[in-house]
Symmetry: C2
Subunit: 412 residues, 2 copies
Amino acid sequence: MINVAILGYGTVGSGVVEVLKTNQDSIDKRAGKKINVKYVLDLRDFEGDPVQKLITHNIEDILGDEDIKVIVEVMGGVEPAYTFVKRALLAGKSVVTSNKELVAKHGAELLKIARKNEINFLFEASVGGGIPIIRPLNKSLTADEITDIKGILNGTTNFILSKMVEEDLDFETVLKQAQEKGYAEKNPEADIEGHDACRKIAILSSLAFGMHVNYEEIYTEGITHITKEDIKYAKKLNCHIKLLAESKKIKNHVYAYVAPTMINEKHPLANVNGVFNAIYVNGNIIGDVMFYGSGAGKLPTASAVVADVVDAVKHLDRNIITFWSTKEMDLINIAEVSAKVFLRIAYNDEEKAKNKVEQILGIEKIVELDNVNGEFGIVSNEWTQGEIQEKITTLKQSESIRKVYNEIKWEY
Amino acid sequence: MINVAILGYGTVGSGVVEVLKTNQDSIDKRAGKKINVKYVLDLRDFEGDPVQKLITHNIEDILGDEDIKVIVEVMGGVEPAYTFVKRALLAGKSVVTSNKELVAKHGAELLKIARKNEINFLFEASVGGGIPIIRPLNKSLTADEITDIKGILNGTTNFILSKMVEEDLDFETVLKQAQEKGYAEKNPEADIEGHDACRKIAILSSLAFGMHVNYEEIYTEGITHITKEDIKYAKKLNCHIKLLAESKKIKNHVYAYVAPTMINEKHPLANVNGVFNAIYVNGNIIGDVMFYGSGAGKLPTASAVVADVVDAVKHLDRNIITFWSTKEMDLINIAEVSAKVFLRIAYNDEEKAKNKVEQILGIEKIVELDNVNGEFGIVSNEWTQGEIQEKITTLKQSESIRKVYNEIKWEY
């Protein structure tokens, strides 16, 4: 029998207890040992709940108990999670976490401690909820050098964008509905401004490229400026707008960003809708692979946590090597990276405006909406993103152009 | 340094050598040891090729060499692969294979020998080419009880069906093109009759449900009867026709089949086109997840083989538990399983024919094509597949009906 402790009895923590109970037989069989939850750390008492007898308010009960071999950290936030996890690893206990803030900020250091102590620090649930992605990156794509990872990594924003398309609604209306249904937080900033996706792509990049990617250096843009009209333009261009997080290797350098992006409707990522997430990976041998599933939610996340617990139990005395050095990676400034961009141009003089745009940015595609007068949308030629900003500034000075706005990254 | 031997220097075998060379540094780093190919077994000499100095024609050179810790079997076919692999495992050498015939037929027995000797028998490349699916099933979905696996598991048939849709061509024309391009074999039976997909779903079912599924007992139907008109009907029904392989648990029983199936165009599997494959898995906790990638091809397959070699090297003295007992699973007879079905009805009397079909099978949807006179297509109510066959026989006896044909499984 292996004793485990769970730090935090919130949504994920209670999900973990539920999963261990629901599938106890098959889980114990796969782990090769019976998994027993000995403690649950929480400030609350949960009076009357079966979990009550496992509750402790004191982390020392857990850290000081030699019987505890695996600790599940599902409190969220950097502190006190970081202190607890670090102490647990230093005490020779393996740790499983779903905490993306913790992993993005301190993953490299915590992995190093685990490696030194021949135990494990596992975090499958920190990215993509239930989607198996961390383990495949570590264990399945080992013959490849990863060249590109791009994904829809946030369920809330994908739900909002999908609903805007399906029901022809504007951002604010859908956000309100999502909040009412519990798909978006009361304070939705972390999701809608892209911060959540940013931490996740930082974790994936660090794993794929083997060096620490500082999430604070990743260019991050949310979806709050996306309008109904943008979505109509996208449709006319046979595209879907998705909040994409990408990390790509060009020669020996990596760039990373989070930004709404127009993707061709035939691309597998374009058809990932609702709260589903997906991660598209390119390796230099395997080509393209994609992993798809529920990006969040109590049970999918708990499933990933428990799968990590099983792996931790199967490797109690052996570190599962993970390449993520503490050395920090220099990301390329996004301004130096080439891209095409979708732009809306409101004009004073249509013909002159079109000529001007063609002359400055180049026009790969041009599109107009039936119900929107006085403007057109274009897809530009490819320039570095620094050049694009300069060219937009130039366009804005043209008399024929009233407004240049709502630029959206164009992928295909 | 770890010495490995490769049995067979065909497409996959030469791919493995190429991958090990291309990404040698990162592969050795992930394996924790340098991987050295010491022998390649082949009947040919490959004179002038750098591989020539590694070639042996004698399996005893390999089996008798204590230096060899891992053997890669990429010969294909059951014999002599089975004899070689079994002897290798009995001699304490781990084996990695891409051979789906071997795994489908003897997987349970070979896994048992590996388990007994604390070595490994790995076969990620036997299903889905480069797509990581065997390892995720074994290692990532361990918290779940799998309830359903369905997939597009054959690249050739998916290429043919995709091309028939895109270019409005008939089966024979596209098959010929596929043969010219090397996407289909000269003797394409194993692909187009569904046998290849059948072996792969047998392997996945055995792993997911932990008992040996005999591929000979899986209902298997190919795509040779699918016509241009069927595809037009599907389009009108907002569907795509895919060769689906499915294995599903109902209560404590499992049924499995391979058959062309109409899938709603919004389902992620519907948008898997060309030579790509995908596997959709439902677990009782995680919900739906999907794995997508190149289902075949020299390099993707070699990538999966080499990833297994890395895993074998990392676990030289420890069996990675795989649940696939030698006990044979009783599959439910497909005739007892409920389904809806698409059918084409050529009539002598339109109104009477429609009434008859409504009365016997029930009509969920009805659809007619602009350019096809004298017939309509329907989606039936749900019946067991045995009942459906009986009802079709009854319909065929009706005077108002000239022909009932091209039934296709209806999924959504």
